[in-house]
Symmetry: C2
Subunit: 229 residues, 2 copies
């Protein structure tokens, strides 16, 4: 059959067709969970949405909770693929690109936030695993950037959580229908400037006549100043 059983007895698809079926179930589940929520969505809602018989579901997933976890994993996989495009050598430039890419991703699929937020309620471990996993690889990159003197030398795990917090919160806010028309360029510029230099008024004011790319604001102060969203 080209497929193997998992410990729980479900099919781990190996064939293209099996993968396509599993993927179609994940898409349908993401739509149901994202629109109606975990509790209001049943397995038969998911198979109806996917246009499949309910029996097919149980070939791939044990229950609704298992496909919910798989949907969250899928969001993370796709997010990582999307963010891999940000590949500048300079970490501060990468942060800016990464934030812009994340906000574009978030606005293209605002349902992800409802699913993530609900995961905290369904089982906090799903929520924390998602963010801890992202934070762990983020922290490795920050540690490398510290070694290269591109960013400040501090606990990279906490730096990573601060950065994830900012992109996630701004992603939630600017994918909300009331903010669909916001000027995302201004959001990215302001937040990227905050990420690079914090709230401190210095470091920017003294840019002229000082060397060091890290001191350069990613947008000029006059640009960032009080721009409206």
């Amino acid at each position: 059959m080209g497929e193997t059983k998992t410990a729980a007895g479900r099919l781990e698809p190996k064939t293209k067709r099996g993968l396509r079926t599993r993927d179609a179930l994940l898409r349908a589940a993401e739509k149901c969970f994202g629109e109606k929520g975990f509790h209001a969505s049943s397995v038969s809602d998911i198979t109806d949405e996917a246009g499949m018989a309910i029996g097919t579901f149980y070939l791939y997933f044990t229950d609704k909770l298992e496909i919910f976890r798989a949907v969250v994993d899928q969001i993370q996989t796709e997010l990582r693929q999307h963010l891999r495009r940000s590949d500048n050598d300079d970490r501060l430039v990468r942060e800016r690109h990464g934030l812009a890419d994340f906000l574009a991703f978030a606005r293209a699929r605002p349902r992800m936030f409802r699913i993530l937020q609900e995961s905290y309620v369904v089982d906090p471990d799903i929520y924390f695993s998602y963010f801890e996993s992202i934070a762990a690889s983020y922290a490795r990159q920050l540690k490398a950037a510290q070694a290269g003197k591109q960013i400040a030398d501090a606990n990279p795990d906490i730096q990573a959580w601060c950065l994830i917090a900012i992109s996630n919160f701004l992603g939630m806010r600017y994918s909300h229908p009331s903010k669909r028309r916001a000027n995302i360029g201004v959001v990215v510029d302001t937040a990227a400037d905050f990420i690079a230099h914090g709230l401190s008024p210095n470091g920017r004011a003294h840019v002229q006549g000082q060397s060091g790319a890290g001191r350069m604001p990613l947008v000029s102060t006059s640009q960032a100043r009080q721009r409206r969203v």
Copy 2:
């Protein structure tokens, strides 16, 4: 009776006893929602928890959704009272104190996060109203600090969202049982340094021999460097 009816016909308590009863219902609801979630908690669970007859509930609240909103409002009120203690003249010092106070508040009542996260699912407007309301007053304070040249001149609304993101995410993480034993001092120092100076390696390295309190890191670089949580 010393009480007036709201538009919905509920009692707006004016007497001490009425306020105490409403408050007891809010406490009971916070416990139920925080432990079992919105969907699994019924009005009778709440009145059982409060040791009251179910009829009493309907004197004060229209339904479960109304008391859920009131619980979120109550969290905000108590958070504001708690944070009002941070009252230093310097904005960067206040940010540091505010973060430390918020993390203490969060760790003392970790249920708040489950309730807030679930509010996004129950009705996103509850979630966004909570954060937009906090952000609006935060932004006013930041604007005043900008006018006083204490912090960088940029869109204060976006600065406020970045700051709220950091405290909320760190609050969620460090009130989780797996992180109860983390060294919160290191978390506060690292995050406060990020808030003041961002990721940029400069502004800290050049501290010596330069004037300007805003340039001073809130913890020395050697302190912040790679400290373990």
